[in-house]
């Protein structure tokens, strides 16, 4: 009996290792109970449509028995199928009940036969598919394809808003920057005073303010602002008694000197005395 079961090993279509010993009930090699059933069915060498499900069930049950005898671990799937086939077998052997509920034993047998046919059909299809000429196995594409060069033409985008924003922002920025520079060229009163204070620290004798200023201020464009601030600062210093100013006539050069400690009015000024 065992020998008979194992004889279909050789009939298996694929993936049975050739070197395996012949007297092994090899459940491992089957892709589940349906695969096993299909292999058993092939042994009947008849059209699956006409297969004896009864005989098939017997063969399956014998196979499972043999496997259990040699204590093979059987997946639950195989045992479930065995139980179901045993049930089907008993149904097939017994007369049909008068009022059948659910499918008849014949219908169940046909359904099983159909499942086997379907599996066999898809296997046949798979075989034919794999036997088609396959890419890079039988037929080959161009091995050294030529690249299609892409010539890109840029299309630039910009909106009028972008343009105007950019223009306004730049112009504005520059104008603000100019205002800043102008500020720096203006001599503030405090700047002028600080400069004058430095100057009068030197000038014990009457000195010409213009000369000092001109030598001090390099940039001629700053002349006006320097003079204005310096004059204002000078008046302030005179008022505070820090210095004396002298001018011969309107628009004449201004003379100044550090005020001597006790010389209030002691030394006559060359011209108009400011006090």
């Amino acid at each position: 009996m065992t020998a008979e079961i194992l004889s279909f090993e050789t009939g298996r279509p694929a993936e049975v290792h050739d070197g395996e010993p012949s007297l092994v009930v090899d459940v491992e090699g089957y892709e589940g109970p349906l695969d096993l059933l299909l292999t058993l069915a092939r042994q009947q060498k008849v059209d699956l449509a006409k297969i004896s499900i009864l005989a098939l069930a017997d063969q399956y049950l014998i196979f499972i028995e043999a496997a259990r005898k040699i204590r093979l671990e059987l997946a639950a799937d195989y045992l479930v199928m065995a139980a179901w086939l045993a049930f089907l077998k008993s149904r097939l052997l017994l007369p049909e009940p008068a009022t059948p509920d659910g499918p008849s034993a014949e219908e169940m047998a046909t359904a099983l036969a159909n499942r086997l046919r379907r599996l066999e059909a898809i296997r046949e299809a798979a075989n034919r598919l794999m036997n088609r000429p396959q890419l890079r196995r039988d037929i080959f594409p161009r091995g050294n394809p030529e690249q299609i060069a892409e010539i890109r033409h840029p299309r630039f985008t910009a909106t009028l808003f972008d343009l105007l924003t950019a223009y306004a922002a730049q112009r504005q920025q520059r104008v603000l920057a100019n205002v800043h520079l102008v500020k720096r060229t203006v001599w503030s009163l405090s700047e002028a005073r600080a400069s004058l204070e430095r100057l009068i620290g030197i000038a014990e004798e009457w000195s010409c303010l213009d000369d000092y200023l001109l030598s001090y201020v390099v940039d001629p464009s700053q002349k006006a602002t320097v003079f204005a601030s310096s004059f204002a600062a000078a008046l302030e210093l005179v008022r505070e008694g820090e210095m004396e100013l002298n001018q011969k006539e309107a628009f004449a050069p201004l003379y100044f000197r550090k005020r001597p400690p006790q010389a209030s009015g002691a030394m006559p000024a060359p011209g108009l005395s400011v006090e």
Binding site: R118, A125, A126, R128, L129, P133
Partner: protein, 243 residues
């Protein structure tokens, strides 16, 4: 002939100037077409070819003529996935084997699953398992996805929203199929009714289709779907744990 050609070879680095007389009258569009198709290792569809060709050329007729011209040659013009490409002739595979990089050897299980997906698509893992009567291991689907021949298409509108699988254009290209309708034995399978009796009537799919538009009973894949997640057994409760 040989001596003439030899002379040409000697002085012409690029190509001889004058043409063989028998093809002198060959239409220019055939030259353009063969240049375009030869240059690419990817199949090109007719519309793309037409875009590159001068106006007024009957592309279809020119392709047919080119195909006939190349039919007896070592390189054939074939149509795969409804696109055109040059491939070496099938009968020369014995010559080309050395060209072949290690070809993928699919397991028997993987081949079966691939065939079921091809012939029954769109199909869920549970449906594949029903046909095979056995759990599909994640590894089997992984291997098939890695080939690029199958892809998850969407999710079936049934409880658990199982993934549906289908084949790709690379599948057609791999097996030199113009379309799924050219699957070998498809007619016989349809004739036996084995393709459509399997599924509940609501999902009756008489012909496989790799049309990218989803069926009525399919939902698109979710944004978060990644292959890792897709293949996790949990996504298909009816699939059970991988055997």
């Amino acid at each position: 002939m040989a001596s003439l050609a030899e002379k040409r070879m000697d002085d012409a680095e690029d190509r001889p100037v004058e043409a063989g007389t028998e093809v002198a009258a060959r239409p220019e569009e055939l030259r353009l077409l063969e240049a375009l198709l030869f240059a690419s290792d990817e199949p090109i569809d007719q519309a793309a070819l037409a875009k590159r060709m001068p106006d007024g050329v009957d592309i279809k007729a020119a392709l047919a003529q080119l195909q006939a011209e190349y039919a007896p040659r070592g390189v054939n013009l074939v149509r795969v996935a409804n696109k055109w490409t040059f491939r070496t002739a099938g009968d020369l595979s014995w010559l080309m084997t050395r060209e072949s990089t290690e070809t993928r050897r699919l397991s028997r299980a993987a081949i079966e699953v691939l065939a079921i997906i091809a012939y029954h698509q769109p199909v869920t893992r549970a449906e594949i398992e029903e046909i095979r009567g056995v759990i599909t291991s994640k590894g089997t689907l992984d291997v098939l996805l890695e080939t690029g021949w199958i892809r998850p298409r969407g999710r079936r509108k049934t409880p658990g929203r199982p993934l549906t699988f289908g084949t790709t254009e690379a599948f057609l290209s791999q097996f030199s199929l113009e379309a799924l309708g050219d699957l070998p034995g498809l007619e016989e399978l349809r004739g036996t009714g084995l393709l459509d009796s399997r599924l509940p009537s609501a999902f009756s799919v008489p012909t496989p289709s790799d049309d990218t538009t989803l069926r009525d009973d399919e939902d698109p894949l979710d944004d978060g779907d990644t292959l890792e997640l897709l293949l996790a057994p949990a996504a298909e409760p009816e699939g059970g744990g991988g055997g």
